[in-house]
């Protein structure tokens, strides 16, 4: 059964929010994000001494009368950012659990909406196998956003995904011009290279890990043949036959906790924002709670 969180009420609640991006990003002209570079806005930022070639119209004559030196008045700059949303569309994200994929799509749509709402450009990168696709192009404006979102809900979640390869193969990754969001369950080891690559591109990064309650706290036990949703063949090495006992469940919890801590430490060292959500958490709670808490939203 198809699950969807996207409706008018959902988007109308997001209108009160905005993305809070780093000020050292460069972006493009015409946005709303204040950046550390100086621009032509009316908001005063600083003074500096006049240098040869500066526009003499920007000299502050009041200061000249006081110090008999030429100072230029500097103003802050506002930029338009490029928001890249990488959505993991592997089988593990929703082949057997439509709610997980719907949750991921809704999260991507919410961030996309916030972007276009703040006059940023947004692109949805569908990660599958070793490459990412951007079927909707760079979206500016709500009209094209909603058109894209309708199609985004139809995306199929199958196969495997190599996140690092997908990110590296993304064609429109320019340096320092916005936020990159990776939405995945990160059930692989290859995602770290993607982070390093994006950091190299000097982009602000947000990792959103989506997990189901079953993944957080598996309740099944006994002799179980676990079939990985990303596999096609039952004899695939990813599948495993195990006897799940109480102690094994404890071991699972420990492994999961260490796995999450590893992601968290990795991100923390690199200044990358990271949140992990369960699909039984209300999506508004995630947006207005966890994302606000990490400072990606204001």
């Amino acid at each position: 059964m198809k699950v969807s969180y996207l409706n008018d009420r959902f988007f109308s609640r997001l209108e009160t929010l905005a993305l809070n991006l780093r000020s050292d990003l460069r972006g493009y002209f015409g946005g709303k994000h204040l950046v550390s570079s100086y621009g032509q806005t009316v908001e005063f930022s600083d003074y500096r001494e006049y240098q040869l070639g500066d526009d003499i119209r920007r000299i502050d004559w009041n200061l000249f009368s006081r110090f008999e030196k030429y100072f230029l008045k500097l103003f802050t700059d506002e930029r338009q950012m490029q928001i890249q949303i990488f959505l993991d569309c592997s089988g593990s994200m929703g082949k057997d659990n439509p709610k997980k994929s719907a949750y991921a799509v809704a999260t991507a749509a919410a961030l996309g909406f916030l972007s276009v709402h703040n006059m940023d450009k947004v692109s949805f990168n569908i990660m599958k196998d070793d490459r990412s696709e951007n079927p909707f192009g760079t979206i500016v404006g709500k009209t094209s956003f909603f058109r894209s979102v309708t199609q985004l809900e139809e995306v199929e979640f199958t196969g495997e995904t190599n996140i690092s390869e997908c990110v590296k193969s993304c064609p429109d990754t320019s340096s320092g011009n916005g936020l990159s969001v990776i939405i995945s369950d990160f059930f692989s080891e290859d995602w770290k290279a993607a982070i390093d690559y994006l950091l190299f591109k000097r982009r602000q990064i947000l990792l959103i890990q989506i997990m189901t309650p079953d993944e957080e706290d598996p309740t099944y036990e006994g002799r179980v043949h676990l079939i990985d949703s990303e596999t096609e063949d039952i004899s695939d090495s990813k599948n495993m036959k195990i006897r799940i006992t109480r102690s094994f469940q404890v071991a699972y919890q420990e492994a999961l906790r260490d796995f999450k801590d590893d992601i968290k430490n990795f991100c923390h060292k690199r200044g990358v924002d990271y949140i992990s959500v369960r699909t039984d958490t209300e999506i508004e709670k995630m947006l207005f709670g966890q994302l606000l808490k990490v400072g990606v939203m204001v």
Binding site: D185, G222, R223, H225, K238, I242, A251, Y252, D258
Partner: protein, 658 residues
């Protein structure tokens, strides 16, 4: 252990089914998960344990197999063998020990002796075959004289049987052969092939297949018998009825009836010389084993209606009339084979005298009337005489009262040599145990009394139907008195019976009560006499082994007879006379009088017919109840089953925890 229903072992197929299930069941349940990534990481975190898992799994399977095996065994009804069926040669000899077995043949050997000999012959054959013999003596309460006696102990058994014959231990009562056959059921249950042989003198119309009857008859035997003899008062004189019969021979039977100490009162009162004993002789014709009734009756009586009965009459002449006697002996003059019924004694011909004296300041006819009534009522037991204290003292001379009735005027002290009935006492005698102070007058109202609790004196009397309009104010009553009826919580009728203190108090004036005209008055007097003067026995003739109820008016009662002497101290008592003959009952009453009575115990009339025929012998029931031989082991299997189920559950729990 044995399996009563071995077909239940088919339940073991369940084990095969279990194994098949283990083989075909999917070992692993498929579960689709989004990713096995974390599970693979978790493998490194799993603690290393000892490889007990396989052992645990093996134990679980073993438990399950054992559970199924126990269930299958439960279906077979497992039982422990208590005792096994026996197929040995076995004889159960039932020897009839009824009184008729005392019949002698021409060689002067009793039937009992012959039965013993025949039983021994049959036993010898069994002993030769290395079998066992059980002998049951069937009298009215059968018992085993030997139980499963083997060859090596046969002399012990024979000695016991010979001793019975030598000591003449054959009973004088009837034989309960059916009860003896019931005793064989246990033996037949254990050994259905055991032979049951009844050595008896009774010809049975139906003999069960499993029983053999060996008849001990001898053609030379015959019996002349007195079946019964009674003496009845008829217009003040006795008529004697004697039933005789002759079994096995038709003959003219001489019958002699001897009356001892006839009419002894006449001799005392008139002083005339009278004949003490009188003898009546008659020859009775007895044919076809039929009973002949001989009636010894006064000659002036009208002829008897013979009807269809075989009745003969003997006319007693005027001079021989009998109105009292000490004892009567009826005897047959015959040399028959069975002697026990050739003589019969009748007692009860002399009634005990009861003197009643009525002492009243205002005599009324009520007591005289009621005592006349009671006198008639007890005429067969007591010779009741009534005197008033106001009569000529010459008449009272030598008159020793047994019952005193005091009305209104009381003596200084109540007598202690008889029963005292106090009515409407005006004063309190010093030893009376009560104090009276005037009376309560209810005016013109007659109020009913209230009964207190059941008491023999109040038998069949409804106290609520006795009314009084004036009753005595009893201010003190010693605890020995039982209050039989009261009004408004105050005692009105009281009684006590403490050895010689036997007092009844009627605490009201007869003129102020409906008692004199009530039917309860004679009933009350009868109850008083019955309570204080209970009959020692209710008859003078009993059969052997009949339970005889005994009572006494004194501390003890001595019974002497063929069985020796026996003293009874607690009453009512019972006596079981095992030997026929006359028994003498002697007691000293609480008032010091010595009372002697005789009873006659005879052999049962049915035993006189030495050619008796019985209807059907009891068929021993062999219960098809295997529980006699097997002990049910289901309980132990159930305990094992529960233990295994618990073990299996525990192993499962351990498996899921680890």
């Amino acid at each position: 252990m044995t399996l009563l229903y071995p077909i239940g072992l088919l339940g073991l197929l369940g084990i095969v089914a279990l194994i098949i299930i283990y083989i075909i069941k999917p070992n692993y349940q498929q579960k689709a998960v989004s990713s096995t990534f974390i599970w693979k990481l978790a493998l490194k975190y799993r603690k290393r344990k000892l490889p007990t898992s396989n052992l645990r799994n093996l134990l679980i399977i073993i438990c399950q197999i054992l559970i199924l095996a126990i269930l299958a065994l439960v279906l077979t009804k497992p039982s422990g063998i208590i005792k096994a069926f026996v197929q040995d040669e076995e004889l159960v000899a039932i020897i009839d020990a009824s009184s008729s077995m005392r019949t002698l043949n021409s060689d002067e050997d009793s039937r009992f002796k012959r039965a013993v000999e025949k039983a021994k012959e049959r036993a010898d054959a069994v002993f030769e075959a290395e079998g066992v013999v059980t002998v049951i003596i069937a009298d009215d309460d059968p018992y085993k004289i030997g139980d499963k006696i083997k060859k090596e102990n046969k002399n012990t058994l024979y000695d016991a049987l010979d001793k019975m014959v030598a000591n003449d231990e054959c009973s004088y009562s009837v034989a309960d052969v059916d009860a003896a056959l019931r005793m064989t059921e246990d033996i037949l249950q254990e050994n259905p092939s055991a032979k049951v042989v009844v050595f008896s003198d009774t010809e049975y119309a139906f003999v069960p297949e499993s029983v053999e009857v060996v008849n001990i008859w001898d053609g030379s035997e015959w019996n002349a018998a007195i079946l019964n003899a009674t003496a009845e008062l008829e217009d003040g004189y006795y008529t004697f009825t004697v039933d005789v019969a002759c079994y096995g021979r038709d003959m003219d039977l001489p019958v002699k009836l001897m009356v001892y100490n006839k009419n002894s009162e006449d001799k005392v009162e008139s002083g005339k010389q009278t004949v003490d004993n009188v003898e009546f002789n008659l020859v009775a014709r007895c044919e076809g084993d039929a009973r002949t009734r001989i009636v010894f009756r006064n000659a002036d009586k009208e002829p008897l209606d013979y009807g269809k009965e075989n009745i003969m009459r003997y006319d007693i002449l005027e001079a021989d009339k009998v109105h009292s006697y000490e004892s009567i002996n009826v005897a047959l003059v015959a040399q028959d084979s069975y002697k026990e019924d050739n003589s019969f004694d009748i007692y009860g011909g002399k009634k005990e005298t009861v003197n009643i004296i009525y002492n009243s300041s205002k005599p009324n006819p009520f007591f005289q009337g009621v005592l006349d009534n009671v006198s008639n009522r007890f005429s067969d037991r007591w010779d009741i005489h009534f005197r008033e204290a106001s009569e000529n003292s010459a008449l009272l001379e030598g008159y020793k009262p047994d019952i005193y009735v005091f009305e209104h005027r009381m003596p200084d002290a109540l007598p202690r040599d008889g029963i005292v009935i106090v009515c409407d006492p005006e004063t309190s005698p010093i030893n009376s145990g009560f104090r009276v102070n005037s009376y309560f007058d209810l005016g013109r109202k007659s109020m009913p009394l209230v009964s207190s609790y059941p008491h023999p004196i109040m038998n069949n009397i409804i106290a609520e139907r006795i009314t009084v309009s004036r009753y005595d104010n009893i201010t003190y009553l010693e605890p020995n008195y039982d209050v039989l009826a009261s009004y408004s919580g105050r005692p009105v009728i009281m009684a006590k019976k403490i050895e010689a203190e036997q007092v009844v108090i009627l605490g009201f004036n007869m003129h102020y009560s409906n008692m004199p005209v009530s039917p309860y008055f004679p009933l009350l007097m009868s109850n008083i006499i019955n309570y204080y003067m209970p009959p020692t026995v209710y008859s003078n003739a009993f059969e052997v082994n009949e339970v005889i109820a005994l009572n006494s008016r004194g501390f003890e009662l001595t019974v002497s007879g063929n069985m020796g002497e026996k003293v009874f101290n607690e009453f009512p008592a019972t006596l079981k006379a095992e030997l026929p003959g006359t028994y003498t009952l002697q007691q000293t009453t609480y008032f010091g009088d010595t009372v002697t009575e005789n009873i006659f115990v005879k052999v049962p009339a049915s035993e006189s017919n030495i050619w008796a025929e019985g209807d059907a012998l009891y068929q021993p029931k062999i219960m098809n109840d295997k529980s006699v031989f097997y002990k049910d082991l289901l309980l132990y299997f159930a305990i094992g089953l529960v233990a295994l189920l618990f073990a299996e559950w525990w192993l499962h729990m351990r498996e899921s925890k680890i």
